[in-house]
């Protein structure tokens, strides 16, 4: 234990530790643990699953899917805990010109089944994602890659030719929905990747088991196995954690913090972060087609009250923009606050003085339904009646997804451009605000075509200003990353670290006891 940690605990203020972030044991510290990482053990993670779970990283939607994807796969690039882009499987990714990129893999990379990772696999992985007959989530971000003019220069090197420039290729490749998979990949029968853990068993809605990849291309993970166990509800998960039947509980309901603090053997990780759970207004249907209605609805939330009632203080004010941890984030835009009078006059001007809307929600995250209920209550003062309709969480991302005029979603921490590619381009896989705006497209193309980072940042600022003024997202809060761990788990972020994303990085953890 570091001296700093002892001092903080000696002061007995859990609150202080939480304010500076990272992980804190709920009870007085246990005796000195071993100095370094030890190998062994099975890490058991409790999740809320359903039979709709999938191992196909390119298609994942839920938290649990994301978790599994990060164990099984890697990308050409990746983000670190401060969300900076760095090399992953690639050792080099450079733009030879505006429309030509060179990607070179690191040497001696192997998939789980032993086959070496080659340029062929890279090209296959890219083609799979952008295939126009069956495009995956990441397709809009990579669509400008010409599938017919990919060149294999040697076993480890690929030259990509783009139809349009895209300076953000490293950002796009850094997300796990663009994984590198082998030619014989199949999500059901052969879910093979390069990740720290390899597939052993998977029963959707029940359990999955992964074993250590001894041939991992960097420091080998410590746990022998990782198991993901599905639960019915959060109370059952917490009980299992307290009872020692699981070791990790990601994304617990904020209300359980009090129990976890008092329970023996639990470490709480409460990381100030920028996860976001937006309200999504479809800008292509009535009544949200009128920008004044969207602006009015964005002026409704009492954001500090939202943070306290929905997230119990474990969040910061959001400004209706995502990507808040990105270097290009527009943090100089004024913080939007509640303005009921302005909201009312906007609605009147738009011809909807007594607006009645229905919001579709589901318990896909522990706070989504509460967020809808709090928003509905706050909307009353503006004369807006919001009816909350709960649907089956298993069906939330089903066929009705993207078709609901007023809905919600739950996002983690991501860089700015990959989310833009997923949400703001017409036809994109997560275009939940029905966004099809010429100016937006112009700015995106311009930013992608700009090599100079400073000039690019200006364009991104302009884009965010546009979204701030007339976008379809209402983002009242930027949410902490919350996880509960058993005391036996070591390697967790120290207090005072300034990272924003530690989720699911289980290859860095080990069992202390």
């Amino acid at each position: 234990m570091t001296a700093r940690r002892q001092v903080l605990q000696g002061m007995g203020c859990t609150a202080l530790a939480l304010a500076t972030g990272a992980c804190q044991q709920g009870r007085p510290p246990t005796p000195e643990r071993g100095a370094g990482p030890r190998k062994g053990g099975r890490l058991r993670i409790g999740e809320l699953g359903s039979s709709a779970d999938t191992l196909d990283a390119a298609r994942f939607i839920t938290d649990a899917d994301h978790l599994r994807a990060l164990q099984l796969f890697d990308g050409l690039t990746e983000t670190d805990e401060r969300l900076r882009i760095r090399m992953g499987l690639a050792e080099e990714m450079t733009a030879e010109s505006a429309t030509q990129w060179l990607i070179r893999l690191k040497p001696d990379l192997h998939f789980h089944h032993g086959k070496a990772v080659t340029a062929d696999d890279v090209m296959f992985s890219i083609r799979r994602i952008i295939d126009p007959k069956n495009p995956y989530q990441g397709s809009q971000g990579l669509a400008m890659i010409d599938a017919h003019r990919m060149q294999k220069l040697d076993e480890r090197t690929v030259r990509l030719t783009l139809t349009k420039p895209n300076a953000f290729l490293p950002e796009e490749f850094s997300q796990i929905w663009n994984p590198i998979v082998p030619l014989d990949f199949d999500p059901r029968t052969n879910p093979v990747g390069t990740g720290p853990y390899r597939y052993k068993r998977f029963t959707p809605g029940s359990r999955s088991l992964f074993t250590r990849n001894t041939g991992y291309w960097r420091e080998a993970p410590h746990f022998d196995e990782i198991a993901v166990i599905d639960f019915n509800d959060d109370t059952a998960r917490l009980n299992a954690l307290i009872g020692g039947e699981i070791d990790v509980m990601p994304s617990p309901p904020h209300a359980q913090l009090q129990i976890a603090r008092a329970a023996p053997g639990i470490t709480i990780c409460n990381l100030p972060s920028t996860a976001w759970e937006p309200f999504c207004l479809r800008a292509d249907v009535e009544p949200f087609r009128d920008v004044r209605v969207r602006q009015a609805l964005r002026l409704i939330p009492d954001r500090p009250q939202f943070v306290s009632q929905v997230y119990n203080g474990n969040a910061r004010l959001g400004n209706d923009l995502f990507g808040a941890s990105d270097v290009d984030y527009a943090d100089l835009l004024p913080q939007r606050m509640q303005d009921i009078d302005q909201a009312k006059s906007l609605l009147r001007a738009a011809g909807h003085p007594d607006l009645e809307v229905e919001i579709v929600t589901a318990s896909v995250s522990p706070t989504l339904v509460q967020a809808a209920e709090v928003y509905a209550e706050q909307a009353k003062s503006a004369g807006v009646t919001v009816r909350v309709r709960r649907i089956d969480p298993a069906a939330f991302f089903g066929s009705g997804f993207l078709k609901r005029p007023f809905s919600q979603d739950s996002w983690g921490v991501f860089p700015l451009m990959p989310v833009i590619s997923l949400t703001l381009l017409p036809g994109a896989g997560d275009n939940e605000t029905g966004w099809n705006d010429a100016e937006t497209l112009r700015l995106i193309d311009a930013a992608r075509a700009t090599a100079d980072p400073a000039a690019r940042k200006d364009l991104m600022m302009e884009l965010q200003r546009l979204l701030y003024d007339r976008g379809g997202y209402i983002i009242p809060a930027l949410i902490n990353q919350l996880s509960f761990f058993s005391d036996k788990v070591a390697g967790l972020p120290e207090p005072g670290s300034d990272g924003v994303d530690f989720n699911f990085q289980y290859r860095k953890l080990w069992f202390a006891a």
């Binding site: 029940s206 019915n232 059952a236 009980n239 299992a240 009872g243 229905e358 579709v360 069906a395 009705g400």
Partner: protein, 320 residues
């Protein structure tokens, strides 16, 4: 002509079958044949036209009601309950694991509640108007008034959270865990079901037992000088068997009825919880299938109990 007893049995079976048929009509009528557009109700007001048309075709809502009903009925007789509207898989595969979980719950509750109810009923009848009877009757009266979720939460507060911490307050049931590990999770739901169902049937048993004890037959035995103990254990209990059968049947019925709420309290993954989710998310085929199953349990249990009583009662009091 068939002997009268056999005729009665056949008639009861026929009545049972007709009740089941009427039940299916009721279920179908309540879920699919109501006025208004079922598809719009299920999908919500903002559904697109294509979605509504697609759902109407899936459910067969574009055909006349009689045809729909006939199709549904034929499907059921072939074991095809249709596909779940939320997940798409067949209703049968969806509910199979739930059925197993509920069956376990019912089994443990039944084997606990029946002896308990019979014992309490008989003993409080034998010890009529004494302290045991007063205390017992009072307690049974109180518990009989309480809704199941009140009993459930009460037990959770006492045994799992606030006062004592003996048992887990929710259920974790997985086919891969050994049974012994899972028994812990059954204790509170089983206790709730037992406490909720026993009072009614215990009181019934008591009343029937009192009737038997007050009967001429027993009075004659007493006059003949037979001791009280033999009277109770040999004569009275034997005559209370038909009543016991009714009690046993009723216990099963009350348990099956209480299962929906009790599973909800403990989030126990049985058919009760499956039913509630199906209702909540308007998954018509699943709702229809589960209600039919629960109703069938009722009808079957009643039928078997009636037949058992017929077979046990030497003097048949027929109503026709």
């Amino acid at each position: 002509m068939l002997p009268p007893m056999l005729r009665l049995v056949v008639w009861r079976v026929a009545v049972g079958a007709m009740t089941l048929l009427a039940l299916s009509t009721l279920i179908f009528g309540a879920t699919q044949a109501l006025p208004g557009d079922a598809a719009v109700q299920i999908l919500g007001t903002h559904a697109t036209a294509e979605q509504i048309v697609a759902l109407r075709t899936t459910l067969g809502l574009d055909r006349p009601v009689i045809v729909q009903y006939a199709a549904w009925l034929t499907g059921i007789l072939h074991g095809d309950f249709g596909n779940s509207l939320t997940g798409g898989q067949s209703v049968a595969t969806l509910i199979a694991p739930h059925l197993f979980a509920s069956a376990m719950l019912l089994l443990f509750s039944f084997t606990t509640a029946v002896p308990l109810a019979l014992l309490l009923g008989i003993w409080s009848a034998v010890k009529r108007d004494q302290l045991f009877d007063h205390v017992c009757s009072g307690a049974l009266l109180v518990f009989a008034s309480l809704p199941e979720f009140v009993i459930g939460i009460g037990l959770v507060v006492v045994f799992a959270t606030t006062l004592l911490r003996l048992f887990p307050p929710v259920s974790l049931l997985s086919p891969e865990d050994p049974i012994g590990e899972q028994l812990r999770y059954l204790v509170l739901p089983v206790a709730t079901l037992v406490v909720a169902s026993t009072p009614y049937v215990a009181r019934m048993m008591r009343a029937s037992m009192i009737e038997v004890l007050d009967s001429d037959y027993i009075a004659m035995a007493r006059l003949n000088g037979i001791d009280e103990r033999t009277i109770v254990f040999n004569y009275a209990i034997r005559n209370a068997i038909p009543a016991s059968i009714q009690v046993i049947a009723l216990t099963l019925i009350y348990l099956a009825g209480g299962i929906v709420v009790v599973e909800a309290v403990f989030n126990y993954p049985g058919i009760g919880v499956a039913f509630i989710d199906a209702v909540r998310y308007r998954d018509l085929p699943t709702v229809q299938c589960l209600s039919l199953m629960i109703g069938a349990v009722y009808v079957l249990t009643n039928l078997l109990a009636d037949i058992a009583v017929i077979l046990c009662t030497p003097r048949l009091r027929t109503q026709w």
